[in-house]
């Protein structure tokens, strides 16, 4: 591998991991809201979450650019007040991947939360746990299969995402050129196919490792889930 390819691999790993880790808490919270909440506008939230799936990635990337670009109020606020610069940084790539993976994450977690036996939650309540504790000690642990599935989907998506990323933060080697951007670029270049293939295989290998890890994890916690 060339130095540039290595950089892309490292960057993709960083971006995918960050995107997955960063979207997990919010994803779990939103999944819980959608699974258990009864509030006005729930369908709207639901649609909003699914948007990145429904819209062509380019549109998502474009909207991200319009929302978080450094000239926008939000982008300026993040940059000036919190020191978080997103545009044309790997952080922006992570944001794009997180957004693209979000619907997958939320759906998986939500599905698992909905499958949790609410009788166990009330049992925890009778033992003195307030709703937050019930969530942390019963609902969430019992939804772990969904959290794992959601995380792996999000990670895989982040490993393959480029449409929104390239539109939002461009394709700058070492900074925002992730594996898929690089693969895409190579497919656009005469004679780039071999390189694209090699990088695709690398990307698949990484994701396969992540998948294997998640399967092992799921197997370890698996049999504990049936309510008794």
């Amino acid at each position: 591998m060339t130095e540039e390819e290595w950089a892309a691999v490292r960057l993709s790993l960083l971006v995918a991991t960050t995107a997955t880790a960063a979207s997990l808490p919010l994803g779990i919270a939103v999944a819980w809201l959608l699974a258990r909440g009864r509030f006005w506008g729930k369908s709207l939230v639901d649609t909003l979450v699914h948007l990145p799936l429904i819209m062509p990635p380019v549109v998502t990337g474009y909207l991200l650019l319009l929302t978080f670009g450094r000239r926008t109020p939000i982008g300026a606020f993040l940059a000036d007040e919190l020191g978080i610069v997103l545009s044309f940084r790997w952080t922006g790539a992570a944001l794009a991947c997180a957004v693209m993976g979000f619907p997958l994450l939320v759906r998986a977690v939500r599905l698992s939360i909905e499958a949790v036996d609410s009788r166990l939650e009330s049992a925890a309540g009778t033992l003195g746990a307030n709703p937050l504790w019930v969530f942390a000690t019963v609902t969430l642990p019992l939804s772990l299969p969904g959290v794992i599935a959601g995380a792996i989907l999000c990670f895989a998506k982040a490993m393959g995402e480029f449409g929104a990323t390239i539109t939002f933060v461009s394709n700058i080697p070492g900074e925002t050129q992730t594996l898929p951007s690089m693969i895409y670029t190579l497919t656009q270049v005469p004679g780039g196919d071999a390189g694209a293939l090699r990088l695709t295989l690398i990307s698949i290998a990484i994701s396969m490792l992540a998948l294997l890890g998640s399967e092992l994890l799921a197997r370890r916690i698996g049999p504990r889930r049936v309510a008794t």
């Binding site: 670009g69 000239r71 044309f88 539109t167 394709n171 656009q188 005469p190 004679g191």
Partner: protein, 234 residues
Amino acid sequence: ASLKNALDEIATAWAGDTGKPPPKISYAASSALARQIEQGAPADIFLSADLDWMDYVAARNLIQPETRVNLLGNKIVLIGPRDSKATVNLKAGVDLAKVLTNALRGGRLAMANVDAVPAGKYGKAALEKLGAWNGVKDSVAQAENVRAALLLVARGEAPLGIVYSTDAATEPNVRVVATFPEDSHLPIVYPVARIHDSRSADAKPFLDHLRSAKARTVFEKQGFSVLLRSAAST
């Protein structure tokens, strides 16, 4: 992105010669790049694959107009799969639509997107000029980009396609059936300009270098024609 091979080589050589860090080159669709520049991308130089998106940024005062030049030129060609027996003479006068339709034998004419992608736009203009567009437009398969169009022909999905000669030259599975006359479409040019907010001291030297003889050899090796003549904005 069709410029990647050439630009990478030039950039590396330039960095080697000058001892400066190699410029970071972001390859993406001209449209995406233009929008990113609009949103304050930290770029120094914009090399566009067509005039429209360069005009788009120029109209928004995002480039330094005096630095804009049409750097490169290219040609579009009609291709077929390697084993294609088609012969087409691209000349005005003959009923090109009929010739093409016959050559397609019910198949599709692969082109890059005729509204958005430069190669597609040039191809469409050329076919219009040659009086064939209306006859073949329903047979056109518009690919996302010129590489995808090339692929469709190379895989034998489409019996004919219109791509840049630079692309056709590197794909062993296609054969150039005919080259479009230069006057059948607007000149295919790749304008380059320095971004208005460019800060890097290396931008100017690199921009100059792109126009050097050394760079010229590299571009020409990849099949581009180099248009040294600097042009004012159209």
